[in-house]
Structure formats: C-alpha cells, structure tokens
Symmetry: C2
Subunit: 214 residues, 2 copies
C-alpha cells in the first residue's frame, strides 16, 4: 500500500467517476431529472451497486452532477461579469449569458433547478433553506460578492449586497424560466427589459390616467 499504488488506484477511480458522471449526464439530458439509477447504470454499461459505491446515494450522484454544471455556468457568468465594459453592459451581458445557457440546454437547466428532492421516507428532516437549487444560492452569493466589492453602498453594504445578489439572481431565474416556457420575445428584448427594471424604470414610470397609480 505504497503511495504510488494508491495514487494509481485513486486515479483510476477518478477516471471511472468522470465516466459515470458523463453517462449520467447523457441520461439526464434524455430522460430529465427523474432519470432512474438503473437507467444511468445501464447507460454507463454497469449495474447499480457500482454507482452506489461511487456516490453513496442518488442525492450524492445528483450533487456531483449538479456541481459540474454549476461550476461551468458560474465560470461563464464570472467572465461576463468581469468583462471590460461599463456597468450596464456587463449586467446585460451577464443576463444574456445565463439565458443563452438555459436556452441551449433546457433539460440540464431543469435538472439543476429541480433536483428531484430525494424521494422516500429517509432524510426527510431538513429545514427550509437547504432545499431549493444550490445553483441559485451559489449564484446569489457570487453576485453579492461582486456587488459588495465594486459598489459603494454606504453603511451596511455587505448585507445590502447579499440581498441584492439573491434578489437579482431570482429575478433572472424566474424571468428566464417563464421566458423559456412561453418564448414571448427574443432573448435580447428580455435582457433589455430586465436591465431596464434594474435601472429603476419601475420607479420612474408615470402613472396611467385614473387611479392613484401603482
């Protein structure tokens, strides 16, 4: 049990793990988030217990799978957020990056947002807050950090930044989800409308005649 041997084994295990994840990916892409462990195992050319040895349980596999996609998406978003351009342009480009991603692979998106909740009677005792897609949380925190780093928000800036980070991400997510379902307009229009919202056009808009206004 030298280090070399162990490294070999670990390396092989890691490769196997990657292969399994790729197979799982294909199945999820095909069958949606309720893909069965059997189906995934079959796609990988093996049987269930191996999956369980690698990932513990379904939640573990899904978490690993989600982490891959989440990391990839977050990288794109960071790039858009860090581009050399003015604030409005960056916001629009970040929104567009996100929307392009969910548009390109809706099944993956769906999987990330609704991780199938861990079925049966086990593990039922978790509190509100740990459930909803970790992707949203991570995006929110990430954005909060960027906001807090770069904007001068006065006192309590950290807390404000976090609220805004999660709020903006939620806005993006919900609007994107709705848009993906109904396709009421082009992506560019959606991006513009959302940026306008963030730019205060809601507060600036005039009332319509009659009534005290919204």
């Amino acid at each position: 049990m030298d280090t070399t041997q162990r490294t070999d084994q670990q390396r092989s295990a890691d490769r196997r793990r990657r292969e399994l994840l790729e197979a799982a990916d294909r199945v999820v892409l095909r069958d949606g988030p309720q893909a069965s462990m059997n189906a995934i195992a079959a796609e990988a050319g093996i049987t269930k217990p191996i999956l369980y040895r690698h990932f513990g349980d379904k939640g573990g596999l899904y978490a690993a799978l989600a982490k891959r996609h989440t990391d990839a998406l977050l990288d794109s978003l960071r790039a858009a957020l860090d581009a050399p351009a003015d604030r409005r342009e960056r916001v629009e480009s970040t929104l567009d990056t996100y929307l392009a991603a969910i548009e390109a692979r809706p099944q993956v998106y769906r999987f990330l947002m609704h991780p199938a909740e861990a079925g049966q009677s086990t593990d039922q005792g978790f509190d509100v807050g740990l459930h909803s897609a970790p992707l949203l949380r991570r995006m929110g925190e990430e954005l909060a950090q960027v906001i807090e780093e770069r904007l001068d928000l006065g006192p309590n800036s950290q807390q404000l930044a976090r609220v805004w980070g999660h709020g903006i991400v939620g806005m993006m997510h919900a609007a994107g989800d709705w848009w993906l379902g109904e396709r009421p307009c082009s992506r560019a229009e959606l991006v513009r409308s959302l940026a306008d919202l963030l730019w205060g056009r809601l507060a600036a808009a005039g009332d319509k005649m009659g009534g005290p206004g919204f």
Copy 2:
C-alpha cells in the same frame, strides 16, 4: 336521481373533499412535501383508494391543495397591492405580506414551491416551463396585470409588464427563500433593501475606488 338528490350527494362529496384536503394539509405541514398518500389517507381516517377516487392521482391532490393556499396568498397580495397609498408604500407592503406569509408557515411555502414533481415513469413527457411552482407563475401574471393596468410604460407596455411581473416575483421569491434559511436581517430591512433595488439604487450607486466599477 332528481336534481335534489344529486345535489345532496354532490354536497356531501364536496364536504368530504374539503375534509380530505384539510387532513392532507395537516400531513404536509408535518411531513413536508414528500408526504405519502398512505399517510394522508391514514390522517383522514380512511384508505388510499378513496383519495384516488376524489383526486385522480397524487398530482391532482397536490394541485387541489396548492390551489387553496395559492388562492389565499394571492388574495392577501392583491389586498396589499390595492391599498390606498403611494407606489413605494404599496410595493413595500406587498413584499412584506409575502414574506410574512412564508415566514409564518414555511412548510406550506416549501410545499407550494417544490410540488415533488410527480414521481414514477408515467407522465414524464412534459416540457420545461410547466414544472416550477405554479404559484410563481400566477403571482407573476397577476403582478404583470397590475403593472400594465396602472403604469404608463410606452409602447410594448404589455410585454414589458409581463417581464417585470415575473422578474419582480422571482426577486421576491429568491430573496425570501434565502432570507428564510439564513435570517440575516429583519423582515423590515429586507423589504427596504428590495424596494431600494427596484427603485434603481443599483444603477445610481457610485463605484468603489479602484477598478472600472461593476
């Protein structure tokens, strides 16, 4: 089979249905959204097939249950949205109403937002867009309508209003979800921060020294 008799039966069936829904409610409140049909039937003092005769399948029961809560919440929100006050006050009061509701009954909230996805291999063929909590969609549409009715948004106002409706609802939802999990500040502070975001403080904020600004 006169009308009277039929009405009697229907009335009784309706009462039964309400009782069943209340039992289901209790169980969901206790066990979370993955409450089993067996558990619900037991709570109602009956057995599974009766539930199925009343609601068709689990999705039907959950839809009925969700409709009750959704309607109730939407009523509160409409009231806040229609109060006689200026725009900012109404926005804040609506946000606060929503947050108070999810704070008061997190299990119900969780159930509404993550309706457990309809398990097995059946009905798997639905497209993205029909999945995520119908509550969010309904709130988004409702808010869009209010916005479009009362604000003068220039051309394309209807589409803009819908984008904003869903976007704002998503912002509220994501921020609320995060807040409910971490409780980083008081409800009032959260409301204020979100309203500030909608009022364009993001665009108005100055850059921090160093770097081109976010």
